[in-house]
């Protein structure tokens, strides 16, 4: 039940963020679903006792793979699907906590939390980047094959 509520909230956050970035109307639903998939994988990996960094990475990979497929299917730029979907993975709470304890003078814990948030951001970027570069590689090979 708690999981279901979490996933519904992820969907709403993704779709609402999408509206604020002016996503085309027909891509809001797919983008929202990608947000849910990413979050589900993140939570699943965390439940296995892995670090949140790993969960964010795998969540981002899943989002990017599905976004590449959707982009080809709906003939839209990939960025449209990716931009909102990774928002439920953003380590907002960790960033906030690190800022809070830093302001209170707990530098060691603050830096530790900030490092974790930074690693998660890098993990998301790496997840998107790896899939995207593989997709580009196949795209350019396909283009050469056609000629």
């Amino acid at each position: 039940m708690a999981l279901l509520i979490d996933l519904i909230l992820s969907f709403i956050v993704t779709a609402a963020f999408g509206v604020l970035q002016q996503l085309p109307a027909r891509t809001l639903l797919p983008a929202g679903i990608l947000g849910v998939v990413g979050r589900l994988i993140y939570l699943g990996v965390n439940a296995q006792g892995q670090s949140p960094v790993m969960g964010s990475f795998l969540g981002a990979v899943a989002i990017a793979v599905l976004a590449e497929a959707l982009a080809r299917w709906q003939k839209m730029p990939v960025i449209v699907y990716v931009v909102a979907s990774f928002i439920p993975l953003v380590p907002g709470l960790t960033i906030y906590e690190s800022m809070r304890v830093l302001l209170q003078g707990e530098y060691t814990r603050g830096i530790a939390l900030a490092t974790q948030a930074g690693l998660i951001a890098v993990a998301i970027a790496a997840g998107l980047a790896i899939v995207s570069s593989v997709a580009r590689f196949y795209k350019s090979r396909a283009a050469r094959g056609r000629r």
């Binding site: 509520i5 979490d6 909230l9 992820s10 709403i12 956050v13 779709a15 609402a16 963020f17 509206v19 604020l20 970035q21 002016q22 996503l23 085309p24 109307a25 891509t27 003939k75 839209m76 730029p77 960025i79 449209v80 990716v82 931009v83 909102a84 990774f86 928002i87 439920p88 953003v90 907002g92 709470l93 960033i95 906030y96 800022m99 809070r100 302001l103 951001a121 970027a125 998107l128 980047a129 995207s132 570069s133 580009r136």
Partner: protein
């Protein structure tokens, strides 16, 4: 004459994409595609987040042409990127006159995807959902919706701040923090039990809507495409915006003291 028009059409298409948050390589690709379809040979485009440089060869006795355009301001409207993307495909595929292309671009520029009402609703609903997702209580639902909607609306109205978006994000963090703390103070004064409202979660929920998502993704995609200058600049931009958001709310929280 005709060559100038094609060049300007390509530049306009690229400008719409870049201004609204398109990736560098996509803008270059679009410009090249339109130039080729318009019969211009040897088109080269160099695009950075702040400007477009475009030139074509002077083959067959023609003069070489070039066009430079500065991009002083950027917003985000992914629907316009999708629109120009689609337009460039159609322009490259079929016989479309340059005039007709110009009209289509003007229409894309004017198009409003989600009006003020819908974005305001999205701000409220989005902030409320993000607050709950981050562990807020049910009592935080309406305060979060209020803080989200009011913050986004105020930022929209404060057009003075749009020019330097670093200040805009800083103000966003500060405004969200002030309203959330005031609300929680009001609940306390009205005799509500302490800790009923979680101002920290409410602030976070609202800040989620200001996360530089497009800039961040573009930085990654630009870097993979080999656009090192654009990628680095955008990465720095995303970092600055995230810092400004945290700084704005942190500034208020630090002054507020006890409630934090």
């Amino acid at each position: 004459m005709e060559r100038h028009d094609v060049l300007r059409l390509a530049m306009d298409a690229g400008e719409i994409m870049l201004v609204n948050g398109g990736e560098t390589y996509r803008v270059e690709d679009t410009i090249r595609r339109i130039c080729q379809a318009g019969g211009l040979s040897g088109a080269e485009a160099f695009v950075t987040p702040t400007g477009i440089f475009l030139s074509v060869d002077g083959a067959g006795g023609d003069q070489p042409l070039s066009l430079v355009r500065r991009i002083p301001q950027r917003t985000i409207d992914l629907n316009k990127i999708a629109g120009v993307n689609d337009f460039s495909r159609r322009f490259a595929a079929g016989r479309m006159a340059v005039d007709e292309g110009m009209q289509e671009l003007a229409a894309i520029r004017r198009e409003v995807t989600h009006n003020h009402g819908r974005t305001l609703l999205a701000s409220g609903v989005g902030a409320a959902a993000a607050t709950l997702l981050l562990g807020g209580a049910l009592a935080d639902l309406f305060p979060a919706a209020l803080v989200g909607a009011v913050t986004m609306r105020l930022l929209d109205r404060l057009t003075v701040l749009q020019t330097t978006h670093f200040i805009k994000e800083f103000a966003g963090g500060a405004i969200a923090a002030v309203i959330a703390l005031l609300l929680s103070e009001a609940v306390r004064l009205a005799g509500g039990q302490a800790g009923l409202l979680h101002p920290d979660k409410v602030i976070l929920g609202t800040l989620y809507l200001l996360v530089p998502g497009v800039t961040f993704t573009n930085a990654v995609r630009d870097l993979i495409a080999g656009d090192l200058v654009s990628g680095a600049v955008r990465g720095l931009d995303a970092l600055l915006v995230a810092g400004a958001l945290a700084g704005g709310s942190g500034f208020v929280l630090a002054f507020w003291g006890g409630g934090f």
